[in-house]
């Protein structure tokens, strides 16, 4: 069984974080105060920022290792990402948002896969709606379907519930839990909400400003 091994330093102007943890299947919550570097860690795993040293590996695939000049492109990492504000393709339908993330098939086949995923996350009826018109909860469901469409090994969830009301948040938690279990993915969840930790965490990685401090099962 493959784990995600993170042992890196990531820097942006004026800030840096040292992150070290191992995440297996299930949900690992990255927990800590705002600005402690949790989202920066996710960005390094997604490949949208390059770590300055250390390594990130998933099973036998090295995502990044600056010392060996290894930096796998985001496109080739097979990770899925859900952002706080969904970051959907606003000019495309929910169906095509998901279909564009299905790999290695033509558009027609991709739409079939996308329709099944939208069904699974409970928004099949909105497949051809205007993406701009969706509610916050609906947007996050589409974003979750999109993140899983590429057969992701690693699912990165960057405060995906924080813009939702209590009812939508609860429903989204259950959906994330069941999808992570069903697909056997390695999920990393960044959150400030203690209820998220209680409800979802299989493991917790604690952050202090600029570094990870502890991992608990």
């Amino acid at each position: 069984m493959s784990n995600l091994i993170v042992d890196v330093r990531v820097e942006v102007p004026g800030f840096g974080v040292d992150a070290a943890f191992v995440a297996g299947r299930g949900i690992t919550v990255l927990s800590g105060p705002s600005g402690s570097g949790k989202s920066l860690t996710l960005a390094a795993i997604a490949g949208t920022i390059r770590p300055v040293r250390g390594h990130i590996r998933c099973g036998d695939v090295t995502f990044a290792e600056p010392a060996r000049s290894v930096h796998l492109r985001s496109q080739d990492r097979r990770v899925g990402m859900v952002y706080q504000h969904a970051a959907l393709f606003e000019h495309k339908s929910p169906l095509d948002n998901v279909a564009l993330a299905v790999r290695n098939v033509g558009l027609a086949a991709a739409r079939v896969v996308a329709a099944e995923l939208l069904e699974r996350v409970g928004v099949a009826a909105l497949a051809t709606a205007k993406t701009r018109s969706l509610s916050g909860g609906e947007r996050q469901r589409v974003a979750l379907a999109r993140a899983l469409a590429g057969e992701a090994r690693v699912l990165l969830l960057d405060e995906p519930f924080s813009s939702l009301d209590a009812a939508a948040r609860q429903a989204m938690r259950q959906l994330v839990r069941s999808l992570v279990d069903e697909r056997g993915v390695i999920a990393l969840l960044v959150t400030h909400d203690a209820q998220d930790v209680d409800a979802l965490a299989d493991r917790v990685v604690g952050y202090e400003p600029g570094q990870t401090v502890a991992a608990t099962e």
């Binding site: 490949g47 949208t48 496109q75 990770v79 970051a87 393709f89 993330a101 790999r103 999109r146």
Partner: protein, 219 residues
Amino acid sequence: MTDWFPLWLSLRVSAIATVLAVVFGVALAYLLAKWQSRWTSVVEAVFTLPIVLPPTVLGYYLLTLLGTRSTLGRTWESLFGAPLVFTQSGAVVAATVSALPFVIRAARAAISNVDPRVEQAARVVGMSEWKVARVVTLPLAARGIGAGVALGFARALGDFGATVMLAGNIPGQTQTLPVAVYDAVQAGDEATARTGSLVLGGIAVVVLIFVTQIFARRR
């Protein structure tokens, strides 16, 4: 009987010039928006020059650069068998150079305004850089680019100075409508000057309304 040749030529020249300015301008704007270095602002400044230079001065430089005695001009002549200057192709070049800065500036701003997280999301789901540009960035920037294209078209249609310098003022061959209006006034032909001005003014107003609508809908 009104001579419609200058209007027809103007529309044809500015249409071709707009297409060229879009192809070249959007590609350059994309590079300027994505690959920031100390050269970015230099390149952008050079391509903004046609806005600030007096049109006749711009035309003079184009004439120097592309005239029959220049390397570029001779290359053109050996490729196409005829000089570039004082031809309709020369008018297209003058109009393209005049339209380019409007397309580049608008497109660059619109492309920079696209939420980088959405582009990152597109990369993370597996799209190549080319597909991210084609499927995500450019469609999301389309309105801003459209405004720049409309302004560029209007500028190309209205160009006088650079066109006269590079393409000349040959009635029935290179005389565009703005040049024809000037000629008509010089010759005391009130009717032609009035008709030409009305047509050009009308098109300018339509373009302005179009651009205003684009920005109004954005909010």
